[in-house]
Amino acid sequence: MHLRVRFFGLLRLDLNIQEEELILQVDKATVGQVVDALVLKHGPKVGERLLAGENIRQGTIILVNGKNIHHLKGLSSEVRDGDVLSVFPPGAGG
C-alpha cells in the first residue's frame, strides 16, 4: 500500500523532508508498524522523537487523515492504502 507521510516540527528539520510517499508491502498496517518502517528508512532519530519505549511519547501528535490517533486506537490504529499520516514530535508554546 501507498501512504503519504507529512513531517513537521523537529522531525522535518532533522530529515529535511516535508512529505514523502511510503510504500509498504502489505494491505493494511498499524500506525506503530508505520513508525517502525520510518525508523528503518530514516534511522533511529524518528523513533526517539516520537516514542517513549513501546508507547507514544507525551506530546507527540500523529494524525491519520486529520484524526489524532489518541482518539482512535493509539499506535494500534489501522492505516490503509491512500491514507495520509501527519507526524509531529512534541511541541508547544503559547
Binding site: 516540527g9 528539520l13 507525551q58 506530546g59 486529520g66 514530535p89 508547544a92 508554546g93 503559547g94
Partner: protein, 602 residues
C-alpha cells in the same frame, strides 16, 4: 523579611513627586504569594474600580514574585497591573527578560505609581537611590532608542529599562510596556496607562540578589527541576529549537488556526509562515532566553532586508499573518519588529486590523475613511505595515484602529465583527475546535486571552494527558484548575512554559524553599483561587455583568466552514453553569458570601 522577598514596595506619586518605601506585611505575602497576586491585592486596596482607566487616579503596579531574581528556572518574570483601557476591567500583563530580576535586586517586590506627572518623566532606581527625572527629551522616541539613550544617560550598560513607545504616549488602547527592547508586558493596554501618567520609562539597577532561608535546600530543588525541564521533549528540545512557532502547523492541521478574522480555521499559507519556514528560510539566527531560563524560546531573527530583532513568536506571527490572510513572512516579521519598536501588543493590533479588513470587505468601512491609506484588504502586506505605524501615531484611520476592534466595529455599526471577549482581542486558537479553551476565553478575568488557562495543552497537545477537544464533559473542572494554578505560577514569578514539564509539587517545592512558608499544595491552590476571585470581585465593582462571560457570536453560532473542525461551534452554554457551580459562584457568576469567607475575602 521572609526568604527571597525584598519585603518592601516603592510607592511613587507622580503628581506630587513624593516617593515612599513601605513594608509589606508578611501575612499578605503568604496569602497572595507575590507578582500577580500581590499586585491584585494592592490594586484592590488602592484603586476605586470605577475610575477611568486613563485618568490620573488609575494605579499602575509593577510586581515581582518571590522567585523573581532567584536562580529558580525561568525566575525572571514580572507583572504590570492596572485598570485596563481595552476592557475597563483588571489588566495584568506578564513579561520576562531581565527587568524583573533587576528590580528585585534593587530591593523592591513592587513599584506602585499613582497620579500623573506634570511633565514627561522617568524613574531611576539604583538600590536605595530613587529619583524621578525629566524625560521630555525621550518623549516621542521608539523603545529601542529610549533604552539605548537611558543606558547612556545612566552611564551603565547594565541598567535595565522598561519603557513605552509612541503607542503608549498616544494612548493606543493596546499599547504595551517593553523591557530590554524585545520583551513585552504585551496585553491589555498597560502601556497606554503608563503613557497617561506621563511616565516614559523605568531604569533600574540593583546589587542584592535574593537569598532563600536554606540555600542548599533551595539549590537542590533548583537542580532537580532544571533536570526535569532539560529531559522534557517540549522544554528541552521543541521550544529551544523551534520556539512557540512550532504551533503554526499543529494548530492549522487541527483546523483551529484563526484565519481572516476567524472566518475559518484553516490557512492555506501556513507552510510559508510556519516556525519550520522561519528556520528553512534562514531568518532564524539563534534562540535567546530570559533571566535564569533554561528553555530559551526567544527567536533572534534577521531578514534579507537587513532588519534585525526578536520574533515572531507564535501569537505575533499569527496576528500579523493568518489572522489577516497574509503569507509574506518578511512583512509579518517586519510588522512584529515595528510593534516592538512602537510599543504595541501584536495580538490586539493584528486582530483589530483583521476586523478592519472584514469591515472593509463587507462594505461597512467606507473608502473615504481611509484618508490617504492603502485599502485594508485581506492578504495585503502593504496595508499591514502602513496601518501598524498609523495606529501608533493615530494617523488617519489609525486613530480609530487605536481604540481596538470592539470600539472600531461598534463605530461602524457591526460590533459582532470584533473577535474579542470583554473588549480584548482573542489570541491564535479558534475555540470552535477546542471547547475547553472557549470556556477559558469566556471566563478570563482580563478578557480574550490564552494564558489564564491554556487548555490547548491537554486538548490539542496531549500534555499532561490528551483530552477530546470536542467533548465538553469535565472541561469546567479543567479550566478552573488551570486558572488557579496559572495564578500561582504568575504570582511566583515563573514562566508558564515550565508547566509543560513541572507539576504542582514542583512549584510547591520551589515556592516553599524560597519563602520559608511551608506551603502545602492545597494552600497554594487556595492562594490561586483567592487571586482569581479577587480579580473577579474587582471586575464586578468595575462594571462587569454576567452576560459578558461570553464569546463573539460567530464562534457560538456560525459553524466552522471547512477543515477538521467543520460544522463545529463552541457549546459554551453546556459548560458555563457547571463552571460557576464548581467555582462556588451563584447563577450570575458572582462569588457567594460562603465562598468569599472560605477564601478570607469576605
Amino acid at each position: 523579611m521572609p526568604g527571597t522577598y525584598a519585603g518592601r514596595l516603592l510607592r511613587v506619586n507622580l503628581s506630587s513627586g513624593q516617593i515612599k518605601k513601605e513594608e509589606i506585611p508578611e501575612e499578605i505575602m503568604r496569602k497572595y504569594i507575590g507578582g500577580r497576586g500581590l499586585g491584585t491585592y494592592f490594586l484592590n486596596k488602592l484603586l476605586d474600580p470605577k475610575t477611568d482607566s486613563l485618568a490620573p487616579e488609575n494605579v499602575l503596579i509593577f510586581a515581582t514574585g518571590p522567585l523573581t531574581g532567584t536562580p529558580a528556572p525561568t525566575g525572571g518574570r514580572y507583572m504590570v497591573l492596572c485598570k485596563g483601557p481595552l476592557t475597563n476591567l483588571v489588566a495584568c500583563s506578564n513579561s520576562g527578560g531581565q527587568f524583573g530580576a533587576e528590580l528585585k535586586a534593587a530591593g523592591y517586590d513592587l513599584l506602585i505609581f499613582e497620579g500623573r506627572s506634570p511633565e514627561p518623566s522617568y524613574l531611576f532606581i539604583k538600590d536605595d537611590e530613587v529619583v524621578l527625572k525629566p524625560a521630555s527629551h525621550l518623549w516621542g522616541l521608539e523603545t529601542y532608542e529610549t533604552t539605548d539613550r537611558l543606558q547612556e544617560e545612566c552611564g551603565d550598560k547594565n541598567v535595565k529599562v522598561a519603557c513605552i513607545g509612541p503607542a503608549g504616549e498616544n494612548l493606543v488602547r493596546f499599547a504595551c510596556v517593553m523591557n530590554e527592547k524585545h520583551r513585552a508586558a504585551g496585553r491589555s493596554g498597560v502601556g497606554a496607562v503608563m503613557g497617561s501618567k506621563n511616565l516614559k520609562a523605568i531604569a533600574v539597577r540593583g546589587s542584592n540578589r535574593p537569598h532563600a532561608p536554606d540555600h542548599d535546600v533551595f539549590m537542590n530543588f533548583i537542580r532537580q527541576k532544571l533536570e526535569t525541564l532539560k529531559d522534557n521533549p517540549v522544554t528541552g528540545e521543541g521550544l529551544p529549537k523551534l520556539g512557540t512557532k512550532v504551533l503554526d502547523n499543529i494548530i492549522n492541521e487541527h483546523g483551529a488556526y484563526p484565519t481572516r478574522n476567524f472566518q475559518t480555521g484553516v490557512f492555506e499559507g501556513t507552510s510559508e509562515v510556519s516556525g519550520e519556514a522561519l528556520v528553512e528560510k534562514g531568518y532564524l539566527k539563534k534562540n535567546r532566553g530570559c533571566y535564569a531560563c533554561p528553555i530559551h524560546c526567544g527567536r533572534v531573527t534577521e531578514l534579507p532586508t537587513g532588519s534585525k530583532g526578536e520574533g515572531p513568536e507564535y501569537e505575533s506571527g499569527w496576528a500579523m499573518g493568518a489572522c489577516m490572510g497574509i503569507k509574506d513572512l518578511i512583512a509579518i516579521t517586519e510588522a512584529n519588529f515595528l510593534c516592538n519598536r512602537l510599543g504595541m501588543d501584536t495580538i490586539s493590533c493584528g486582530v483589530t486590523l483583521a476586523c478592519a479588513m472584514e469591515l472593509y470587505e463587507k462594505g461597512h468601512l467606507p473608502k473615504e475613511d481611509l484618508n490617504s491609506g492603502p485599502e485594508p484588504t485581506f492578504g495585503s502586506s502593504e496595508a499591514l505595515l502602513y496601518y501598524v505605524s498609523a495606529i501608533a501615531y493615530r494617523k488617519g484611520l489609525g486613530d480609530k484602529l487605536a481604540e481596538g476592534s470592539l470600539r472600531l466595529a461598534t463605530n461602524y455599526g457591526h460590533p459582532e465583527l470584533s473577535m474579542s471577549v470583554k473588549g480584548q482581542e482573542l489570541p491564535a486558537y479558534d475555540p470552535r475546535g477546542v471547547q475547553g479553551q472557549g470556556l477559558a476565553y469566556a471566563t478570563s478575568n482580563r478578557g480574550g486571552c490564552h494564558v489564564r488557562a491554556y487548555l490547548i495543552s491537554p486538548e490539542v497537545l496531549g500534555i499532561p494527558e490528551k483530552l477530546d477537544p470536542q467533548s465538553v464533559e469535565g472541561k469546567a473542572q479543567w479550566v478552573k484548575i488551570f486558572q488557579d494554578l496559572t495564578a500561582v505560577i504568575d504570582s511566583c514569578g515563573l514562566c508558564l512554559f515550565t508547566s509543560f514539564a513541572l507539576g504542582v509539587e514542583d512549584y510547591r517545592d520551589l515556592l516553599s524553599a524560597a519563602t520559608g512558608f511551608d506551603y502545602s499544595v492545597e494552600e497554594m491552590f487556595t492562594c490561586g483561587e483567592r487571586i482569581w476571585n479577587l480579580e473577579r470581585l474587582f471586575n464586578f465593582r468595575a462594571g462587569l455583568t454576567p452576560e459578558m462571560d461570553t464569546l463573539p457570536e460567530r464562534l457560538l453560532k456560525e459553524p466552522m466552514p471547512e477543515g477538521p473542525q467543520k460544522g463545529n461551534v463552541v457549546r459554551l452554554s453546556e459548560m458555563l453553569p457547571e463552571y460557576y457551580r464548581l467555582r462556588g459562584w451563584d447563577q450570575d457568576g458572582k462569588p457567594t458570601p460562603e465562598k468569599l469567607d472560605s477564601l478570607e475575602l469576605g
